[in-house]
């Protein structure tokens, strides 16, 4: 039923990726847990919703997460580029609200390559940029086979990949072993 180390995950290091859909946060935290090291979460200041440290304690230690509040998307990108290039941070998550231009996307890729760290932009659906290495669509799925404690089933769809094939996976996060578990899809 499960494959303990999915080959598709994590996506290639030293690149910037994109993720959209309602399960984007889960993807970001799973990636952070998998990459280990410090995480920088860049978001705009006006954003009313807030990641909850009591919730992501199952994924990463909140001491390793630094939060940056920026004025607008330009600042977000500048902070993300600086953090990626420094090489101190292993994952930079940026919450974007506007489409990303080609130049900005390319600069993020170069910064990630220079700093040997990974970038992840959480984008609204349908606003991907061409410079992204991969783009994922993540959505939670209900599956009656799992009890309410461990129902973290997600459908992860790779909708763009610059160096490989696309695919769909059903995965679940296991908090006890801190591992991503691949599950056969519901109803099959």
């Amino acid at each position: 039923m499960h494959n303990l180390d999915p080959r598709f995950f994590p996506p290639s290091n030293t690149r910037t990726h994109e993720v959209c859909g309602p399960g984007a946060d889960v993807f970001a935290f799973t990636l952070a847990a998998r990459l280990r090291g410090d995480v920088m979460w860049v978001r705009e200041r006006w954003e009313p919703s807030q990641i909850n440290p009591d919730g992501f304690v199952e994924f990463i230690d909140s001491a390793s997460l630094t939060l940056c509040n920026t004025k607008d998307q330009t600042e977000t990108l500048a902070v993300a580029e600086e953090a990626l290039r420094s090489g101190v941070i292993s994952l930079v998550v940026m919450q974007l609200t506007k489409p990303l231009g080609l130049t900005a996307g390319r600069r993020l890729q170069l910064a990630a390559r220079d700093g040997k760290s990974t970038g992840l932009s959480i984008i609204p659906e349908g606003m991907g940029s061409n410079a992204a290495e991969t783009r994922w669509h993540c959505a939670p799925v209900f599956d009656p086979r799992f009890s309410s404690q461990d129902s973290t089933l997600q459908k992860w769809e790779l909708i763009k990949n610059k160096s490989g094939t696309l695919g769909v996976w059903y995965v679940r996060w296991d908090p006890a072993s801190r591992r991503l578990i691949m599950v056969s899809p519901a109803g099959e």
Partner: protein, 492 residues
């Protein structure tokens, strides 16, 4: 004294320093007093002249004072501010001589040996002091003598100017309390009939020492100048500023950086000697046209390592417009914090510092307070179970304990158009129709009544984890005291 110039000491006593300080700013006509809360009782601390005339005295309970004098105006005393004011006066007093020290909480002591002729003599100097202090709204009593103890005695007990030479002659009519003895000793001396300093000096020494210890005669000897007593001048606070003037103006970034490096090396050596670290730095660049530009740097952690600070200046210096050239650089640590030397261990030898340097670099762009981290807090209220603190001013903390599952993302409660008490089968949220597949709960959370919180006005909350067939796993709550359903978070 020893090199031929007779030592002369001035003692300034400000009997109403605290109240004068307040009344200087907002003069009031009537009696005025400052109160100090001591062991749960408000007592008068410092009074103005009119309040003293009404029969009030310091140390009197505030309620008694109000009964004696109904139109008394009062304010609570700020002792720290009073101390600061005395420091300012101390600095002002250096206009008369360089050797100025503090005398208790409300006095100054000046060693004016050899500087009186600059003011035309001792009397002229004292009247100059008095004029200036009175004009500033301070009441003052001045004593001038050969020794510190004698000057204090004269200032506190009927001001005066003791002519140089025989101190005992000047002091002999003052009460023994003028020797700064404790109250018990001076009362005992009075009971023995030794009311005045002259009586004390005439009494045989050995029995006095046997009865009161060596302190009484030591004070007497200090007053008449047979034993020395020093004045400790207040040291200037260390100044963390360095500058460099250039013979030829410079304009290239690399040149300015090289200059900055030289200044930083000097400044950091100074910081290291004092075991301090800079938190904020200001670089002032003066151009040849007398215009100047400032580059400010706020650090995420107190630092005194020039090699780490220098790269952080790059961004700010690159934005400076050099014009026709820069001919003076000035670097000042505007904010310093204690940074004691630390033992190097294998734990601290990691790459910990690099994250702080990154925070500083990002902080110069978006402001240091916008870079934050989560700290655990002791509360059941979901939005108050963590604190968001500026990363530059806090240390990361572990120790998150949460027994119940909590959502990954929290948002301000979004109401659902449902009022029934059991979890809804179907509901609309954010323009989506959702069907409940499984609801787990309730988990009841009560508001924290000891904290005022508008969001929790609706009373108790019953939290449910609702899994929808559409996939979303939401955190809903029902408020039984104010029927209504809200969505507050989304689970992984």
């Amino acid at each position: 004294m020893f090199d031929g110039i007779p030592r002369r000491v001035v003692s300034l006593w400000f009997p109403r320093l605290a109240s004068d300080q307040i009344l200087r700013r907002c003069p009031s006509g009537g009696p005025f007093a400052l109160t100090l809360k001591q062991s749960n009782i408000n007592r008068l601390y410092c009074l103005n002249g009119q309040a003293t005339q009404q029969g009030l005295h310091p140390g009197m309970p505030y309620s008694d004072a109000r009964a004696f004098c109904p139109n008394l105006q009062t304010a609570p005393v700020d002792l720290l501010q009073g101390q600061r004011f005395l420091q300012i006066l101390c600095r002002w007093a250096t206009r008369y001589c360089p050797w100025v020290g503090l005398e208790g909480r409300d006095g100054l002591v000046l060693d004016i040996s050899g500087s009186t002729h600059l003011f035309g003599g001792e009397k002229e100097m004292l009247s100059d002091m008095r004029t200036r202090l009175t004009r500033a709204g301070l009441s003052v009593q001045i004593g001038l003598a050969d020794t510190r103890a004698a000057a204090w005695a004269l200032a506190h007990h009927g001001e005066g100017l003791a002519p140089p030479g025989d101190m005992l002659a000047a002091l002999q009519n003052l009460p023994v309390a003028a020797l700064q003895l404790d109250e018990k000793t001076s009362t005992a001396l009075t009971r023995l009939g030794l009311r005045k300093i002259g009586d004390l000096a005439a009494a045989p020494r050995a029995p006095l020492t046997r009865r009161f210890g060596p302190d009484v005669l030591r004070r007497l000897d200090q007053a008449v100048g047979q034993q020395p007593e020093g004045i400790t001048p207040v040291a200037d606070p260390p100044h963390y500023g360095v500058r460099m003037t250039l013979p030829e103006p410079i304009g290239l970034i690399s040149d300015v950086m090289a200059g900055t490096e030289r200044l930083l090396t000097r400044l950091c050596a100074k910081l290291k000697a004092q075991e301090m670290g800079a938190r904020g730095l200001t670089m002032t660049l003066r151009r040849v046209d007398q215009d100047h530009q400032e580059v400010e740097l706020r650090l995420a952690r107190p630092l005194r390592d020039p090699h780490r600070i220098l790269p952080l200046f790059e961004r700010g210096l690159a934005e400076v417009d050099a014009g026709f050239g820069i001919d003076q650089l000035r670097l000042e640590a505007t904010q310093v914090e204690a940074l004691p030397a630390q033992q190097l261990t294998h734990v601290s030898a990691g790459r910990k510092g690099h994250l702080e340097d990154l925070i500083t670099r990002i902080g110069t762009r978006i402001g240091l307070t916008n870079i934050q981290r989560f700290l655990p807090a002791d509360s059941h209220i979901p939005e108050r179970s963590f604190i968001i603190a500026p990363a530059a001013y806090s240390d990361p903390a572990s120790g998150w304990t949460c027994t119940n599952p909590r959502p990954l993302r929290l948002f301000p409660p979004e109401p659902l158009m449902i009022a029934e008490p059991h979890p809804p089968e179907r509901f609309r949220w954010r323009r989506m129709s959702l069907t409940t597949a499984r609801a787990t709960g309730p988990e009841r959370i009560a508001p924290e009544w000891w904290l005022e919180d508008d969001n929790w006005r609706s009373g108790l909350r019953d939290y449910w984890r609702v899994e929808t067939t559409q996939g979303r796993r939401l955190w809903l709550f029902y408020t039984p005291q104010n029927p209504g359903w809200f969505v507050q978070g989304e689970f992984a």
